[in-house]
Every structure is written in structure tokens, then in C-alpha cells.
């Protein structure tokens, strides 16, 4: 399992801040999105605006994800 944290508008649309998803060994970040969008279809329209982090650092679609990792779904940041 991996832990997925959602923030800001993504948490709002999904109606939750944290979910667990099943993921095989050797998976990539790209494989997480379809699972997430299936579980929370209201996230789908945000896809192109989102960034992702794995274990607290920005990650790309082809980066590996392992069981136990923490993935964060990051809408466009708006601090300041």
C-alpha cells in the first residue's frame, strides 16, 4: 500500500485528505493517477494542474514508487 496525501483544492474536490492505494512493487508515479481518479472522479478535471511529490520531494511521472511511500497531490501552490 502507498499513502496518498491531498492538499488544497485537491483535498476539497476529493472530499478527503488522505487515502491508501494498493500498488505493486516496481510501479511508477504515472500508475498512481488512474487509481486515484477512479477512486475520486471529481479530481479528474484537475489533472493538468497537479504536481506530485514522493516522500516530500517533487517527482516526475516515470519516478519509481514503492510500498510504504508517501505520495502528495499538489495543486498549483499559492503561498505568500
Amino acid at each position: 500500500m502507498i499513502r496518498v496525501l491531498l492538499f488544497g483544492a485537491a483535498a476539497d474536490r476529493a472530499g478527503t485528505r488522505e487515502i491508501e492505494l494498493p500498488l505493486e512493487d516496481g510501479a511508477t508515479l504515472a500508475e498512481v493517477w488512474p487509481l486515484l481518479a477512479e477512486r475520486h472522479p471529481d479530481l479528474a478535471p484537475m489533472r493538468d494542474t497537479l504536481a506530485f511529490a514522493v516522500n516530500g520531494e517533487y517527482a516526475r511521472a516515470d519516478d519509481g514508487v514503492s510500498p510504504g511511500d508517501e505520495i502528495a497531490v499538489l495543486p498549483p501552490v499559492s503561498g505568500g
Binding site: F7, D12, M46, G56, A72, P75, V77, S78, G79, G80
Partner: protein
Amino acid sequence: MFTIVDDPLDVGALIRDAQRPGCGAIATFVGTTRIDESEGAVVEYLEYEAYRPMADRKLEEIGAEIEGRWDVGYVSIVHRLGRVDPGEASVAIVVAAPRRGPAFEASRYAIERIKEVVPIWKREVWSDGYVWVGSQVGSREGVSAKP
């Protein structure tokens, strides 16, 4: 000092902390909640949240970038979370440097980088609903996509 806090910022104390005998300039940037108006509604307050500890680490990285680029003696960035009422400070950046040029430039750089890379989000709470800034998701009629 690079930190994220839940309480009001004491900007005066942050400036005093920056004073250095070797520095002839302290530049300070303070971001504050502004009351916007549109469609007969007004912003009542802003509400911030962060992904920690990634956000803390990104603030430290901005500090390291500044020290690599400019001759500065001290940099601090403090960001507040939670509800921030009109006129109150959400972020304070204080840069002390031997000379004013680098102090001004580095403080400007810090706020621009915060808006690019630090995982902090704000929600505008209006008199007629709310909007997540940057995502346009919220409950305001005609202004935002419904969550």
C-alpha cells in the same frame, strides 16, 4: 530562520533578529491579506495550509539559493498558516546584507520563489463563498468550479 507558524507574525522582532554589525541594509517584505471586491462580495479572510515538512525544507532551500547568489549576512522567511485576517501578515522575509542592492534583490527573489515551489496553499473566504487561489475550485457562484 526558516519556519512555518500558526500564530501572528512579530515583524519587528524578525527585523531585530536580522541586525548585524557587518550589514548596512535590512530589506523586509511582508505579505498581507488584502480585501478584494467583486460581484458585490468581499474577501473576509484568507486561510493557508501547507504540506509539511516539505514546505519547511523548501523555505530552507530558498535561503540556500540566496546565500549562493548574493552577498548576504542573514536571511529569514516565516510563513503563517490558518486564518489570516485583512491587514495581517501571512509571510515575512527579512534579508540583511552589507549593501542594499543584494538585500532588495534577495528579498524579491524569496517571495517569487515561495510562489513557485513551496507547497503552501491559500483559500480566499468571501462573503458569498470561497475559492482556492490558483485552482479556481470553490463554492463561489460563477467564479469557481464546484468541489
